[in-house]
């Protein structure tokens, strides 16, 4: 079972984004990158939740937008205050992304093994 609808969403999003005539002003690129990182973290967290059956759509959606916005705002605030919160955000979200990816991997592998053993059991029966 492949998640066709989400993949389609991603492809359409990339297509729309590349067809926008709007160009990001260079000063906002830094904050946009942090927002993208936060969004990636949210997406992986969502996928992890789906696999663990603890998924909540409201949490994902709010998390996605607030994380992105807050990350960008914090980075901006850090720039204003002379504190490089930018790097803190990169660190935090990077760590979380890797944690999420690791648990996704764990889950996929364990579920794959469980499937295989159950299939073998059915065969041996």
């Amino acid at each position: 079972m492949w998640p066709i609808l989400p993949l389609l969403g991603l492809i359409i999003g990339v297509y729309l984004g590349s067809n926008f005539s709007y160009q990001l002003p260079p000063i906002y690129i830094k904050y946009m990158s942090i927002a993208v990182l936060a969004s990636l973290d949210s997406v992986f967290g969502g996928i992890k939740a789906v696999l663990k059956n603890t998924f909540d759509g409201a949490i994902l959606l709010t998390g996605f937008f607030t994380n992105a916005l807050l990350a960008a705002l914090l980075a901006y605030l850090g720039d204003r205050l002379g504190v490089d919160l930018y790097y803190a955000a990169i660190f935090a979200f990077g760590v979380r992304i890797f944690q999420n990816l690791a648990s996704i991997r764990h889950h996929v592998i364990t579920s794959f093994r469980a499937k295989r053993t159950s299939a073998r059991g059915e065969k041996s029966d």
């Binding site: 989400p6 729309l16 590349s18 946009m32 969502g46 998924f55 959606l61």
Partner: protein, 236 residues
Amino acid sequence: MTKMRWEIPITIVLLCLGIMLSLQFQAQTRIASDLTLQRSETLIAMVRGLSEKRQKLDLEIIDLRNQLNSQLESSRDEETLLDSINLEMGKLQIVNGTTAVKGTGLTITVEEYMPIIYTDLINIINELWNAGAEAISLNEHRITSHSTISVAEDVFSDSTFNIFMTINHEKLEYPLVIKAIGHPSNLEKGLTLPGGIMDNLALFNAFPEITKLEELEIPAIKKPSTYYFMNEYKPS
């Protein structure tokens, strides 16, 4: 339905993520090609390369300008040459009689009753040349080095008087009009000086009428001569 519960939010989130990713990607590629964010070493190398290129192009511009100047000069030379050739050709045409000319001069009219033969016409014309005439015509025939003035006899005519004068082998009709361009008084004096051609003709009771004119036209020759056997020869 449980499946749909997680698919829709994830799809929305991924859609937004896709838009953000591609925007960010575009912005980043723009930054990579933006000069203000390049490393100074790269910038120095670029400046060096560009200034070298610029020098080369400057040299090329100078080269091309020189070429243009020389071309212009040569074309100017050619133009002046062409102008002078045209001028000379115009002069030669006037002298050879291949163009019609006009100027001050006089006309000499000879009526049929005057006892004048073709040698008298030749004498008058010679006298005009001597007096400084620049162009002469006889009955609208331009007189050139190839003109012939002669007599002919119409053997088929029943009339008793069937001898007539010719110019360029065409019959001369009366009144004969000789036109000459030159200084009018000089030409007249050349003809009427004592013992001159007019005095000679007066002996035979012929008094051609001389009229000085402020402006008269002399036509071009009707058939320009062609040369087949004559070649230039320069004795060394």
